[in-house]
């Protein structure tokens, strides 16, 4: 075994450049490209236009009065839709696991149907078709959008919940039953609490999706008091010379809602990790 690093035997098998050195150079190149792109973008940008078209102070000032109301409405529509989606989704999830065939088929057909059509169509149908077909007058916008988005959401939620319930190992139920707990007691005390932990991240994700989908409510024709963020933002586009300021503002407000949700989900996951 030759020990001299320059001995012909070792040199023959050594690559021309060590893999570690290659990786370092590649990384430096990536940083370089990034820096160049940023510098070019900053140079090419028209900063005056940016200020007047995206962060127009006049437009922002004109929106401030209506913003809290729109913010509250977005939250209200979201919570209502999520409540409908969660409760209906739970029923559908239980139907999917039922020993009665028709229940399973119905739940599956429901999920396939509502996952397969755009939420926009559902909102339109609930808002206009249902009152015409059934002669029911839905009391207010919160109920309309809550039902419409809830129906769509339930299709996704049911699949999430079913997967969560079935992800709890069978041994957990067997242990509970062998201690004398009834099937429903085992479900309530052992399966559901553990399934809840599993479904928390996907459900938070669903909540974020609903938050964004509440923007469809504009299709139903809104009174000023019913404006939510998107409607408020797009209305502000009509102001002369304000550019896109309206949508930039409400876009930031959406992030104020959705970013903490994601953060919350991650924190709950971490807290639960001890129990896994």
């Amino acid at each position: 075994m030759p020990t001299d690093p320059n001995s012909p035997a070792l040199l023959a098998t050594r690559p021309r450049m060590s893999p570690r050195k290659k990786a370092k150079i590649s990384q430096a190149a990536q940083y370089g490209v990034l820096a160049i792109v940023i510098v070019l973008a900053l140079k090419a940008m028209d900063w005056d236009k940016l200020r007047t078209q995206m962060f127009n102070v006049n437009v922002i000032a004109s929106m401030l009065d209506a913003l809290p109301r729109a913010f509250a409405n977005t939250l209200l529509y979201t919570i209502c839709a999520f409540a409908v989606g969660l409760s209906l989704g739970m029923v559908l999830a239980l139907m999917k696991m039922s020993s009665v065939g028709p229940y399973r088929w119905l739940a599956t057909a429901y999920a396939e149907f509502f996952r397969g059509i755009p939420a926009l169509l559902v909102v339109l149908s609930i808002g206009f078709l249902i009152p015409i077909l059934f002669g029911i007058k839905l009391p207010n916008m919160t109920v309309k959008i809550g039902i419409a988005l809830g129906l769509v959401s339930a299709a996704y939620v049911s699949e999430t919940l079913r997967a969560g319930l079935q992800a709890v190992p069978r041994g957990q139920v067997e242990a509970a039953r062998s201690l004398g707990l009834s099937q429903s007691q085992a479900m309530r005390s052992v399966v559901v609490p553990q399934a809840f932990r599993i479904v928390l991240p996907p459900l938070t994700n669903e909540l974020i999706l609903i938050t964004k989908d509440t923007s469809f409510v504009y299709l139903l024709g809104l009174a000023t008091s019913e404006y939510e963020l998107t409607k408020l933002g797009t209305n502000a586009l009509n102001q002369a010379s304000g550019g896109l300021t309206g949508v930039v503002v409400v876009g930031l407000v959406y992030l104020i809602i959705t970013l903490p949700l994601g953060h919350l989900a991650r924190r709950m996951e971490k807290k639960n990790a001890r129990q896994r």
């Binding site: 041994g171 067997e174 201690l179 004398g180 707990l181 007691q185 052992v190 932990r197 001890r274």
Partner: protein, 273 residues
């Protein structure tokens, strides 16, 4: 030593199994089992994997529903559809190969859950019982830990304490040490030995031949869904009278020994728990 708690035929039977058949689809797993376990008796069930040992155990507390036959627990026929099986199960503790502690509860939470929900004990009473059982298995200092924070041996001892907290008349052990690292097996077996010495009635499916030999009153050798041999441990393990038992014990007690006739043989897998 032929057993730690000698029993007489007059002791009342805790489990009485007669003509038990169990099939999964077209697979016959149990083909006519008769077995009686009397009060204070420790019975070990041994046999190759796939022989139906675990299924037999799971038929006793009806985790599996027998296809045919009678299982009497404390004089109650559990196969009778009118029997309140949840009530009967409170008298039968079960310990699983994979522990099955409730992952979302601490050790203490695991021990008091069924006491509170099923036996309707007060929190204070349930915790008192739990502490006594944690002491017995040597886990007083782990009460606030979650299962995932414990070693396998600790988890299994906690699972034993959980079952004991229901004051069962019978304890079922389904390969309790098979999922453990070798150095953790001893602690669990020591707890089981203490239980046996304390007079607990036990039905144990195990591969621990030393435990079966030293602790059990009776050893049952199963193969292919039937009881092939049954008797005092010294007799069944020490000098088996059937070829099947002899071959099995030779393989278990001397795993490196390869018999020419066994080469190329495959063993069927036991149904997953």
């Amino acid at each position: 030593m032929s057993g730690v708690s000698p029993t007489t035929p007059t002791d009342p039977p805790v489990v009485q199994i007669s003509g038990l058949y169990k099939s999964f689809g077209t697979v016959d797993v149990l083909k006519g089992i008769d077995l009686t376990v009397r009060e204070r008796e420790v019975v070990c069930v041994i046999g190759p994997s796939g022989s139906g040992k675990s299924t037999l155990l799971r038929c006793v507390n009806l985790l599996e529903r027998p296809t045919q036959g009678v299982v009497e627990l404390l004089g109650i026929d559990v196969t009778d559809p009118d029997v309140d099986i949840d009530r009967v199960r409170t008298h039968v503790g079960m310990v699983f190969q994979s522990f099955n502690l409730f992952a979302h509860h601490t050790v203490m939470g695991n021990l008091i859950l069924a006491q509170r929900k099923v036996l309707k004990r007060s929190k204070a009473e349930a915790e008192e019982v739990a502490w006594a059982n944690l002491r017995q298995v040597g886990l007083e200092d782990r009460a606030t830990f979650y299962p995932a924070e414990l070693s396998g041996g600790q988890q299994q001892r906690a699972a034993i304490a959980r079952a004991l907290s229901m004051n069962p008349a019978l304890m079922l052990f389904d390969e309790p040490t098979s999922a453990l690292d070798p150095e953790l097996v001893g602690d669990v077996l020591a707890v089981m030995r203490d239980l046996a010495l304390g007079g607990m009635t036990m039905l144990v499916v195990t591969h621990e031949m030393a435990f079966a030999r030293d602790v059990s009153d009776r050893v049952v050798f199963m193969d292919d869904g039937v009881i092939v041999e049954e008797g005092p441990a010294a007799q069944v393990i020490g000098s088996p009278s059937t070829d099947r038992a002899r071959i099995f014990l030779k393989r278990v007690l001397d795993p490196t020994h390869i018999d020419d006739s066994e080469i190329g043989e495959t063993e069927p897998d036991e149904p997953a728990d």
